[in-house]
Amino acid sequence: MAKSRVEKSLLSGNEALAYGALEAGLSFASAYPGTPSSEILETISCFSDVDSQWAVNEKVAFEVALSAAIGGVRSLYVSKHVGLNVAADPLMTSAYVGVNAGFVVVSCDDPGMHSSQNEQDNRYYSLMAKIPLIEPSSPQEARNFIIEAFKISERFDIPVLFRMTTRISHTKGIVRLGQRQEFKKKEFKIDPKKYVMVPKNAHLRHMDLVKRLERLKSFSNKTELNQIEWGSKSLGFITSGVSYLYAKEVYPNASFLKLGMSYPLPEEKVKLFKSKVKNIFVIEELEPFLESQIKALGIKVKGKDKSFSIGELKPEYISSIVKGENKKEKKSITRKPVMCPGCPHRSVFVALKKLKAIVAGDIGCYTLGASPPLSSLHSCLCMGAGVTFHEGFRHALTGKNNIVGVIGDSTFIHSGITGLINAVYNQVKGLIIILDNRTTAMTGLQNHPGTGKRIDGEKTVQLDLERLTAACGVDTVDVVDPYELDTMVKLISKRMNEDSLSVVIARRECMLISSCKNKAPKYVQDKCSKCGLCLEIDCPAIKKRDDGFIEIDKTICVGCNLCVDICNFNALVRNET
């Protein structure tokens, strides 16, 4: 699979980054999947020269990858922007200890929140963790810059933050690749002063870090990652990432200071640029990260109105920014995403709606249970919060037994388990439902410990959710097939009202990987009362006709028969022939 010879290919930014890392002599990579980052590790998993893994969560991924680098091999961490929050603890001390062999931290940010709960600007992590920041603007630069990132990491003995965004990760372009350069393993030396971060050692390492940052600052002024393109002396732009391409397209004749390494800021280059160009605009997506640093130097530049800090930047916004205008957004109503036909999550939400439950939700396909007409998921903050919000709600909403927490299988393993132990330890009563669809569905069907398969599909030890949750000390653990609606409703109702802490595992394979497909149910129109109950389950295969009757789209129906189970008039009948 690995493209080892020099060639041109049409690659996404994520694929180009993976191939670039391969060229750089990458030896180990660890990640937790999340849009828009997932394809990076999926591509790397095809390279026989690299040991790659899905980690249980981002904190684990970060620590395993960093210590591999300390051990002497070039190593990579990858996650989406919010994933880096989970790894923020090791990140904040990583610059103190340094790396030995090169270690690059890839963060794929999602401006516009196409598939995320927030649009935090992870460039700020470089300031806080005191590590250099690299921002490519195209797939070719993702490949070129990742190779540089490894060199910088080693030269300055520091992790490098490599910030991608959705429009770079998921843009395909022509990319020129090169040969893999085998990396000579670095020797690991036992050095407690460097690797044991107790206060006395950490104090000295912090002083050393400040010195390394000074050297990085001077490097930032010299490196070709930061380039001046001279054009008009009356109009110039300081910009980075995909924003550079937008500004360049709209003002091709302006001068540009294009920052590939945007922290530490190349102060001398900024001053030189300012000395030659009259009007300078800082063009950047989301927060005024560059703008505020440049202004702090006492250099007069213009930024964007704060209305542009919300949502993605677009090429057509650039001239408005230059004119000093506010953002004028064209509103367009996009079709809302829905659970697939036959999705095993749907019936769980139908059951929860029936039982009028207050549902603490989590992050995954099942978050779609929040939108009408299902409307039966009532909170979603971050991964793991389905379990912990259940606990907080139980504390506050005393006297209510209808509080349920829901969480996916991969998400439970990621960060739900600690919340569950907390609930047991603090004697919370209630019900947690693990929506176990045997995959990490929303991010593209990745394996996890519960599937018993590694990133490359190879068999490994399978995590047993029943035994795990029982070992946490919950009172009861039940497994139920979500296709058995009545059984599930009865079980949830019983467990919800008991004076105990229960786990119900609603287990059925995601229909995108399941080979079990039944015939679409028969529709007996004469018996249909047009009550609309079957439309309330929000199945894309059931459509309302103009005459008020329904129609089943047989090309997408997988025969889950949930609509049969909820029809009170026998107008929908199982088709078992």
């Binding site: 049409l10 849009t35 828009p36 997932s38 196409h114 598939s115 195209s138 959705t166 429009r167 770079i168 998921h170 843009t171 395909k172 372009g173 022509i174 995909v242 391409l245 937008y246 360049k248 397209e249 709209v250 677009k314 090429p315 057509e316 064209k330 367009s332 109503i333 996009t334 079709r335 809302k336 995403p337 829905v338 659970m339 697939c340 396909c365 779609l368 929303m442 991010t443 593209g444 894309p540 090309t555 997408i556």
Partner: protein, 161 residues
Amino acid sequence: MKPSLNILFVGTGGQGILKASEVAAIASVLDGFDVKKSELHGMSQRGGSVESHLRLGERVLAPIIPDSEADFIVGLNKQESKRVLHFLRKEGNNLTPYLNEALKECKDLRTLNICFLGILSSYLLIEDSNWVKAIKEVFKKSYHKINIEAFYLGKKLGGIE
């Protein structure tokens, strides 16, 4: 000098929008164009709106099409097409009106996306052989024949035999 062209593919999850733009991107590269193609994955794919921006030219900068600069809208769903109409240039071509005819003529609706590439190709100067090569690169061998047929059907609908 290659001309600059912006093509916006739009439809709903499962219609093969991303596949179609992938084939068009590869055909364009084979024809000597620089390309950038941008789209979204993840949550938006669960039956929601799907949009893929394809830009061709001598050298392409921004990965997404600016407002009012699309030369073509390849729409496989009327509502979705209406939603993105603001992207179309004044003199641009909206290919969505071919939908009724394509739905009628297309033998296998799974190939509707490639049928639309045939329609698109009748407006462009990309060699047929490069379209066919691109189809073969994207699809498994067992799907080559029906997709190539769908491509030529589209070409006929687009006005060129």
